[in-house]
């Protein structure tokens, strides 16, 4: 018994050693997107539309082209001449249209031309020499207005098969799912609350602007260095847009200065390559902060209607939601995700949800940490809070009563396997924060949140060196310490010290395909692949030991970094450490490597529960967050410090979204707050310490039980803070962000 227990313990997993790339990152030597340089390099700059919606009548770049410092100018015409893959369609076409406008500029900041020149200043100056004649068209930026019958049409024919007849052409995708009968459920309720909510678009706000360095020759061979969450995606997208073969473009991911979903696609990368091909020199492009805000993916804005029925004892009898999401001038707003996630934490007999993907004259939305889920949770969990208030129920008890568990049919269809929502709620109930007294003027809010998590295509390769150290090649850029978690998992399987493992983010020429670092998938999927690649290596090591001992490989097992006979019958041999096997591996069969390629499917959904205290100044409407606790199921925390970091980061971003972050558009449809001065992300003095509780309910789909942790942490904050603010101020806030003017207006309206 005792022995078995010990065997189930981890040696390395669950510890928090120094990250392998720590020294590089505290000394300034780590190379990020903008830190690259190439011999003969030119600097690119992008000309962007000053209009929200305009027909491009004429582009005259002759003055720029004639300038002595300018070596190339590109417009959409340069992308049309694709020799290899004509007829781009689907998302590739959307991305092309986004990286360089075609017939129309679709939003303020939409790229219309680009130059490459001998210096960054010369490139910026050259943009002023390009003349563009626009015919300004009517625009729309609000989601509800974009669905109205008289709304300007962004693009005809963009809708897919899912959209019911008779909807405005700006509605491009439609989702509907349900089970049970909501009308029956509402009839059974003691109280039904129906309410409407809106959230404004927010930006991922990574501190590193997009940057890349591209080189492409007339021979169709290219090199690209860029800051990205997924360099294989960059590779195939750029290749498609430029009409070259995917394998002829080698993409190297730089260190990445934050992404949060926003660096899962390309913007300037195909432009740099197009300029490079034309100038026949490497071209570097670095976005300004203002370009990042105006032209890269913010999240969707949302307008939502929620109706929930509840019995006096807290049982939810029915829930219904309509979620309208605006995702810019292209299909992609995650209305379906919002709809599917909104009620996902609850065990419901009667539920129905509808999601809309709506286009408007804004930049193409990109994924942002659990894309779509935070907005839905804000609306749903606000109504639940109001029901608790009216029925005199404890918000945690009510949620426990309705919480989904193993075997629950999820609101979006499937049946849950082992999940940890109940455990997070129990931890919330037991946490000292939940019972701590509040000061006058403060309010406490609670919310649950759900995210699917993702597996995705994954390749990992692991090679041993003669001295017994190991190198792991993974294809998912390290955004928040994943090299450390990969090394821990490899060390666990191989039984060698963490420090003996070097983890490298391989370029696209050195490893098989990998999906982007998104969907909270890195520790799960690359971790699973690392474990399997390491197990592959262990099999090879056991084979060598078996050959040496002259016994069958089945008679050898791997223990604490050594090959040992599997039992007394296998023979009496001293354990052989890994380094002894690798020392002469050249003579015993050659190099020892392991690899793994697959699309893991068992990502394991994730739940969290947040508790927050807020204080509202009744005279100014200003909110401060006085205490915050994140409780979330990690399945198994590989590197607990970085798991805590994900929880804290998600909460902090949620606080920004809830209180002050928003895209502000003028009457002209132009973005008014495209710098960090006016796009107000939380600063250090805005936040309290953020307490965390790591709940571990192992995911059956991962060898060590890992569930992704990156995204779920941003789902509960909007609602938890809205509930806290509503309790503190005595008014229900239905619009995000809850900026001081909005709260003060609500307070005045309340008399």
């Amino acid at each position: 018994m005792a022995l078995d227990d010990r065997k189930s313990q981890f040696t390395f997993v669950g510890t928090s050693p120094d990250r392998p790339d720590g020294l590089d990152k505290v000394t300034g030597r780590a190379k990020y997107g903008a830190d690259a340089h190439a011999p003969g390099m030119l600097h690119g700059a992008v000309l962007r539309s000053p209009h929200a919606h305009a027909r491009i009548v004429r582009i005259d770049a002759s003055k720029a082209e004639a300038h002595k410092d300018v070596k190339a100018v590109v417009t959409r015409a340069d992308f049309a001449k694709v020799p290899f893959k004509p007829g781009l369609e689907g998302e590739f076409w959307n991305v092309l249209e986004n990286v360089m406008a075609g017939e129309k500029a679709l939003y303020d900041g939409h790229a219309v031309a680009a130059v490459a020149a001998t210096s960054a200043l010369a490139a910026r100056d050259a943009l002023k020499l390009i003349e563009v004649e626009y015919e300004v068209l009517p625009h729309v930026t609000d989601v509800d207005k974009a669905m109205a019958p008289d709304a300007p049409i962004i693009r005809e024919g963009a809708a897919d098969y899912s959209v019911p007849e008779g909807m405005h052409p700006n509605v491009v995708r439609y989702h509907e799912s349900s089970h049970g009968d909501v009308e029956t459920g509402f009839a059974e309720a003691d109280l039904v609350i129906e309410d409407s909510f809106t959230t404004e678009a927010t930006h991922q706000g990574y501190i590193e602007p997009h940057a890349c360095l591209g080189a492409l020759g007339a021979d169709g061979k290219g090199e690209l260095w860029c800051t990205t969450q997924g360099h294989w995606t960059a590779q195939k997208t750029c290749a498609a847009l430029l009409g070259i073969e995917t394998s002829q473009l080698r993409v190297t991911a730089s260190e990445i200065g934050g992404g949060f979903g926003g660096k899962t696609t390309v913007f300037i990368e195909p432009v740099a390559l197009a300029l490079s091909r034309k100038a026949n020199r490497p071209v570097k492009i670095v976005m300004s902060r203002s370009e990042v805000f105006r032209a890269t993916g913010p999240t969707a804005s949302a307008s939502m209607d929620i109706k929930i029925g509840m019995k006096k004892d807290g049982t939810i009898t029915a829930a219904e939601g309509t979620f309208r999401l605006q995702g810019g001038a292209f299909p992609g707003a995650p209305g379906d995700m919002t709809a599917m996630c909104g009620f996902a934490p609850y065990n419901l007999s009667n539920v129905r949800q509808v999601g809309y993907d709506v286009m408007a004259n804004r930049p193409k939305q990109a994924a942002y940490r659990a894309p779509g889920a935070p907005m839905g949770a804000f609306a749903v969990e606000s109504v639940l809070d109001e029901l608790c208030k009216k029925l005199g129920l404890d918000p945690v008890e009510m949620r426990l009563k309705n919480a989904a568990h193993e075997g629950t049919k999820a609101s979006f269809g499937p049946t849950y396997e082992r999940i940890g929502l109940v455990e997070t709620l129990e931890a919330a109930k037991a946490h000292p924060h939940y019972s701590a007294p509040l000061k006058p003027g403060q309010g406490r809010g609670v919310s649950c949140g759900f995210w699917f998590n993702h597996g995705g295509e994954t390749s990992v390769s692991l090679a041993l060196s003669e001295d017994g150290s190991a190198q792991v090649m993974v294809g998912t850029p390290d955004i928040g310490g994943s090299r450390a978690s990969m090394a821990l998992m490899a060390a666990e399987v191989l039984g060698v010290p963490y420090e003996n493992i070097r983890v490298t983010i391989a370029d696209t020429a050195s490893l098989g395909y990998n999906d982007v670092s998104h969907g909270s998938r890195v520790t799960y999927a690359s971790g699973l692949a690392t474990i399997k690649a390491a197990r592959h290596v262990v099999e090879r090591l056991c084979e060598r030991a078996a050959a040496k001992w002259g016994i069958p490989v089945e008679a050898v097992k791997w223990e604490n970094g050594c090959a040992v006979p599997s039992g007394p019958n296998a023979g009496d041999f001293d354990p052989v450490p890994l380094a002894d096997i690798t020392a002469d591996m050249g003579a015993t069969g050659g190099p020892i490597s392991g690899h793994f390629e697959a699309t893991p499917e068992g990502a394991g959904v994730s739940f969290g529960t947040h508790i927050v205290d807020a204080e509202v100044d009744p005279e100014t409407g200003k909110t401060s967050i006085t205490r915050y606790t994140v409780i979330q199921d990690a399945g198994k925390a590989i590197h607990p410090s970085y798991v805590e970091g994900q929880y804290q980061g998600g909460a902090a971003q949620g606080i920004g979204w809830a209180l002050n972050e928003e895209y502000v558009y003028g009457e002209d449809g132009c973005l008014q707050n495209s710098i960090f001065l006016d796009y107000r992300i939380p600063v250090a003095s805005d936040l309290p310490m953020i307490d965390t509780v790591i709940v571990e309910v192992p995911n059956p789909g991962h060898p060590f039980g890992v569930r992704g942790v990156g995204e779920t942490g941003i789902v509960p904050p909007l609602a938890a803070i809205a509930n806290a603010v509503s309790h503190a101020a005595g008014v229900r806030m239905r619009e995000l962000p809850m900026s001081p003017p909005r709260i003060l207006t609500a307070l005045k309206g309340n008399g």
């Binding site: 100014t620 600063v683 003095s685 003017p741 003060l744 207006t745």
Partner: protein
């Protein structure tokens, strides 16, 4: 862009007088560089005044008044304890501008000449009765701070003129000043509303007062009605309410990305009360 770093103000003035196109003076540069970088304003001539002797001096004059060099940074003001004891409102207003890093560069003069109605140091300077020395082709003149801005981004300085010194009056007995602003975060924002209050007591009664509002009109306002509302009172509740009403009444704000007309109007009254209480406590010699 031509860059000059003249050795004295006369030379700086002469350079500006003969320059064509757009001329900017470079003190801390925290506005000039942002405008340059974003292609909002690319000066044809940039005149760096930091090489002029004495531009970073903080001098207490024999009569108790203060003269500040035009390149004195916010950080240097905050570190000067005697200045902070005399004029805590002015120093704190300056200190509210931007980050620690910005404080290492930003100046009162730059904040004033940028011409923003939301400039934090300006209402505090106006309330304090600060003047500036303007050097031009025809010599020097002294101008009250409230007379420098003429509208958003515009000043009363003529071609060839620049500010060569900041003159803060003697604090004198029984006086106190304060500046408060409203921002949505705790740091790093532009004021949505700013209020500067400077007063002098005779016993418990306010004998003199100057109240100034920022970010609620095209320029920073010196509001006589606010001063009248509290002069002759002990800052009792009625006086505070009258002050708030006068502040709100003086507002002529706009709706913009930082705040609404209603919000600015309402909050200017709230902040006027809060700032007046601090200034009053300071005048009484209480810590506030």
């Amino acid at each position: 862009m031509d860059y000059h770093s003249p050795a004295n103000f006369a030379e700086a003035s002469a350079l500006a007088a003969k320059a064509t196109g757009i001329t900017r003076f470079l003190a801390g540069g925290t506005d000039v560089l942002v405008q340059l970088r974003s292609d909002l304003v690319t000066p044809d001539t940039l005149i760096d005044i930091k090489k002029i002797n004495g531009v970073r001096d903080i001098t207490r004059n024999a009569d108790g008044s203060w003269t500040l060099g035009v390149a004195t940074t916010g950080a240097e003001m905050s570190e000067h304890s005697a200045l902070g004891r005399d004029w805590p409102g002015v120093v704190e207003a300056m200190d509210l501008i931007g980050s620690t890093q910005v404080q290492g560069r930003a100046t009162l003069t730059g904040n004033l000449c940028n011409g923003s109605p939301a400039a934090d140091s300006v209402p505090a300077m106006v309330a304090a009765g600060v003047t500036v020395t303007v050097t031009g082709p025809d010599g020097d003149r002294e101008v009250a701070v409230e007379d420098i801005p003429t509208g958003p981004g515009r000043t009363a300085l003529a071609k060839g003129e620049l500010i060569s010194a900041v003159n803060i009056p003697a604090r004198g007995e029984n006086g106190g000043d304060a500046y408060l602003r409203f921002i949505p975060r705790t740091e790093m924002d532009i004021a949505v509303v700013g209020v500067g209050v400077n007063l002098r007591l005779d016993g418990d009664t306010i004998a003199e007062a100057r109240v100034s509002l920022g970010a609620v009109a095209p320029t920073v306002l010196l509001v006589d009605d606010c001063a009248k509302a509290i002069i002759g009172t002990t800052l009792d509740d009625a006086a505070l309410d009258a002050l708030a009403a006068a502040a709100s009444a003086a507002c002529n704000p706009i709706d913009d990305k930082r705040g609404t007309i209603e919000f600015r109007t309402e909050v200017s009254g709230v902040l006027a009360k809060r700032a007046a209480k601090i200034a009053y406590a300071r005048a009484k010699g209480e810590q506030a």
